[in-house]
Symmetry: C2
Subunit: 454 residues, 2 copies
C-alpha cells in the first residue's frame, strides 16, 4: 500500500474486514460529549422549507445539496420537506421554545443520526456519501459572544482528546473566508493526512454568532432585564473518523486497530498437535477466562479443520492487536507466544505473566499514535515558493505551509497555482510568520496551509 | 388520572419531565438482541422506487404512507426515493450479495433508526408519529420454513423478556388475516392496556415466508446442491415501548419509573437546619459515594434556596424510585429516611444499612410489575355476547375475549357491532374454546380478542 494504490486498498479492506468498529468509536465520542456537559437528544430528520430558508447564507449553500420531499403517499405536500443536510434550522426553533432567560443558558445539546447530501461528485465509502450515518452534531446556545467563542475552544479541545483516543493525528486550521460553514462567523477544521498524501477533513467547529438567532428570533432575558439575541455554536464529527482509523493505521496485511476501540483485543489460537488437543484447548480456555475477567475483549479461535496459518491471516486482516498462540512446546514450558499486530514482534511469556497483556496493549496504542504522528509530521513541509510547494504535493504529498499576506485574492491564487486547496491558517500555534507572500511579495502576516484534499 | 383525562396527563408528563429514558430502554432492547445472536447494522434510509415496488402486497399497503423524494437540489431524480416505512426492501437486496449457501444461514440482523409514515390521522407523541425514531427492527434469514417459524417463536420470547424487564404487561395475539403486515404469512402482536382502557400495540413479529425472497430472487445453495429461496422473518419494537412505560406505571404525581431503566435511581435530599448544614451535606455526600461505588445511579439535590418540599415535588414528577432524606434528627440517630415513589411508604433506616437499597429497588420493581399485570388481568373480560362485550368496553375498557367461528365475515361483524378492533387469537395459551360464535351461532373454534385501540 502507499501513495499509488491507497484507493483500491481502502475498498478491499472495507470489504474483507466487516466494519464493526462503529459502536466502539461512537462510545468514545459519546463519552467525551457526555462528560463535558452535553445532553443527547433527537431532532427531526425532515425540515420544512419555510424553516430551512430562514437564514439566507445557509440556504444558498445547501439548497442544491438537499434532497426534497414533495409527496406524502399520492398527495403533494403543501410545504416541501428537506432531508436535513445539517440541523441548525431544525434545532433553533425548538430551542426557542425552551429558552426564556439567561438562567436557561448555556444549553449544550448533541444528536447522533443521519444527515443527507445530494452529492454530485463520485462517492467513496465513509468519506463522501449521500447518507452520512451516525453524524455526531453538537449545538450550543450562550448568553454572550465570549461564552460562545470559549465553547468553540472547548469543542476543539474535546475533539483533540477524541482523536488522541482514536490515535489519529491532525492539524487544526481556521478555514479561509471563502470556505466557512454557511451561516458561521468562523469555522475551524481538523484535517489528517491519508497514506496517498491527500488530506481528509475529520471534524469542524463553528462560531455561528447570532445569525441563526436573528433568523429565528431566538432571544432571552438578560440579567439586566433587557432582551438579547442568543449566541450559537455547532460542531460535528462524521464517520470519516472511522475512515481515518482504518486508513491511518492499516498496512498491507489489512486493518491495524488501536486496542481501545478494537472489537476484539486478543485472539487466542490453539496450535493443535495430535494427542494434546484437549490439553492445549484447555490451556487456551483458561487464559481466555482470565483475560475476560480482567476486562479484555478476547476470542478463542477453535474452528476445526482450519490451519493456524489461515487463522493468523483472518485475524490480521481484521486488525486484532494481539495474537496469543499456545502449542505443544508452550504447554510443556508453561508458556504462551504473543504476536503484536503493529510490529509483528513475537515473544514468549510464562503463563503466569498473562497480567502483562494490559501494558502490552498500552504499548501498542502508544506505538500506533507515535507512528501516525511521525508520518503526519514528515508530510508537513514549510516552503516560501509556489513552485516548491507544488512539487512537494506532486511527489511526496501532505500539507505545505507558506507565508501569506492574508488577502483572499492571494489565497485563491495560491490555490490555483499550486493546484491545491487552502486548509486555512494554523490554530495550533508555534508558527512564526516570516518572509513575504509568494503571490504579491508583500510582507506576510499569516501562515497558510495548502493540501490536496478528498 | 384515569379513563377520562389520560390524554391530557400524558401530554403534561412528557412536557414536565424531560424524556431521558430512551437510552436506558435502548440498552435493554439492544442487550437482549445482542445476547441472542443478532448483529447490529445500519441500512439506507432511502429506498429507490424500483426496489420498494418489487413485493406487490407490500407496496400496496405502503405506497400511500410513504414520503417520496423527487428532487436532489434543483434536479428531478430519475428514480423517486421513498423514506423507508420499514426496511424489508432495503435489506433483502443487500443480503442477496452476502448469502451464497446454507452455511451463511441463519443470518440475524437488526438496526436502530428512524422510519417514516405519512400519517393522515391525528398524531400523538411517541404513539402515532410521522418519524418513528429509534425503531428497533430485526430481519432474519433461514434455510427452511421450520427454522423461520422457530425464529418467530424465539423473537416472541425475546420480546416477552424485554417487556418483563420494562415491567410492561401484555397479551400476544395472532393478528387476523385482514390485519397482517403487508407481505407476511403470519403476524403476531404484543398489546398492552393503557389507563384510559384503550389498547396499544407495542411490538410485532412476522413470518414473511418466501414472499420477499421471491420478489428479490434471494436464493441459496442447499445442502443437497440444489438452489432454493430463502425464508425470512422480521420483528420490531418502536418508541411505543417508552410510551407504555410512562403510561402503565405513572400516577397523578407524575412518572413512576422501574429502577432498571430509571436514569436516576436514588435522589438524596438534605433537610438543612441552621448550624448543621455542613454535617448534613457531608452525611449526604458520604451515602451518595457509597451508593455510587455500589453501582447505583444517584444524585444529591443540594440546590440552595429551594425548599425540601419543592425538591420532593420535582423528583416525584421525574419518577425517581427512591428518595433518601437526611435531616438533623437523622444525623443525631445515625439514620436516614427512605421514601418509595411507588407506594409513598416512608421508613427510617440506620446509616449502616445503606446496602439494603439494592433489595428495596428490587422490591419496587416487583411491585410495579405485579401491579401492572393485575391492572391488565382486571381489564380482560370473557364474554359470549356482543352486547355485553360492548358494554364492558364502554364502561370499564380493556380487552374482551369472545368465542368465534373463525371466519373473516364474523370477525369483521364483531368489529363493527362492538365498535372495536379485533386484536386476534391468543398465542399465550390457556384459553379454552367454549360455546358458539355470537354472530352466526356456529360452534366456536377460536377465542377472539377485541379492544378499542390507539
Amino acid at each position: 500500500m502507499g501513495k499509488d494504490n491507497f484507493g483500491d486498498w481502502f475498498r478491499e479492506i472495507l470489504d474483507a474486514a466487516k466494519i464493526i468498529l462503529r459502536t466502539n468509536v461512537l462510545t468514545v465520542i459519546r463519552r467525551n460529549l457526555d462528560e463535558t456537559g452535553h445532553e443527547e437528544m433527537l431532532f427531526p430528520t425532515l425540515i420544512p422549507e419555510d424553516l430551512i430558508v430562514k437564514e439566507s447564507t445557509h440556504i444558498q449553500s445547501f439548497e442544491d445539496e438537499a434532497y426534497w420531499i414533495t409527496h406524502g403517499g399520492k398527495n403533494a405536500l403543501s410545504v416541501k420537506l428537506a432531508l436535513r443536510p445539517t440541523s441548525e434550522t431544525a434545532i433553533t426553533p425548538m430551542v426557542k421554545l425552551w429558552v426564556r432567560s439567561h438562567a436557561d443558558l448555556p444549553l449544550l445539546l448533541y444528536q447522533i443520526g443521519s444527515i443527507f447530501r445530494y452529492e454530485t461528485k463520485a462517492t467513496k465509502p465513509l468519506i463522501r456519501i449521500r447518507e452520512v450515518t451516525t453524524f455526531k452534531e453538537a449545538h450550543t446556545f450562550h448568553a454572550s459572544h465570549e461564552a460562545a467563542q470559549a465553547q468553540v475552544r472547548r469543542a476543539n479541545e474535546i475533539y483533540m482528546k477524541i482523536f488522541s483516543e482514536l490515535c489519529i493525528p491532525y492539524v487544526v486550521s481556521e478555514r479561509p473566508d471563502w470556505d466557512r460553514f454557511a451561516g458561521a462567523l468562523t469555522t475551524y477544521a481538523f484535517d489528517t493526512i491519508f497514506p496517498d498524501g491527500r488530506c481528509l477533513q475529520i471534524g469542524t467547529s463553528h462560531d455561528l454568532g447570532q445569525n441563526f438567532a436573528k433568523a429565528f428570533d431566538l432571544t432571552f432575558e438578560k440579567k439586566d432585564g433587557t432582551r438579547g439575541l442568543v449566541w450559537q455554536t455547532s460542531y460535528g464529527i462524521s464517520e470519516r473518523a472511522i475512515a481515518a482509523v482504518i486508513a491511518v493505521h492499516g498496512d498491507d496485511r489489512g486493518l491495524v486497530l488501536p486496542p481501545t476501540i478494537a472489537p476484539i483485543q486478543v485472539v487466542i489460537i490453539p496450535i493443535l498437535y495430535r494427542g494434546f488437543e484437549d490439553q492445549i484447548l484447555g490451556a487456551c480456555q483458561k487464559v481466555s477466562s482470565e483475560l475476560i475477567s480482567a476486562g479484555f475483549r478476547v476470542v478463542v479461535d477453535n474452528r476445526p479443520k482450519i490451519t493456524p496459518g489461515s487463522k493468523f491471516y483472518d485475524w490480521e486482516i481484521k486488525g486484532v492487536p494481539l495474537r496469543l498462540e499456545i502449542g505443544p512446546r508452550d504447554l510443556e514450558a508453561a508458556s504462551f507466544t504473543l504476536v503484536r499486530r503493529d510490529t509483528a514482534e513475537k515473544t514468549t511469556y510464562k503463563l503466569d505473566s498473562v497480567t502483562r497483556i494490559g501494558s502490552i496493549l498500552s504499548a501498542i496504542e502508544d506505538n500506533l499514535r507515535t507512528k501516525a504522528w511521525k508520518y503526519m509530521d514528515d508530510h508537513i513541509h514549510t516552503s516560501n515558493a509556489l513552485e516548491d510547494a507544488k512539487q512537494f504535493l506532486d511527489t511526496i504529498g501532505g500539507i505545505v505551509e507558506l507565508p501569506w499576506c492574508g488577502t483572499d485574492a492571494c489565497g485563491r491564487r495560491i490555490e490555483a497555482e499550486v493546484e491545491t486547496r487552502v486548509l486555512g491558517t494554523p490554530l495550533d500555534g508555534g508558527h512564526e510568520v516570516d518572509g513575504v507572500c509568494p503571490c504579491c511579495g508583500q510582507k506576510a502576516t499569516h501562515v497558510i496551509r495548502v493540501a490536496r484534499t478528498y
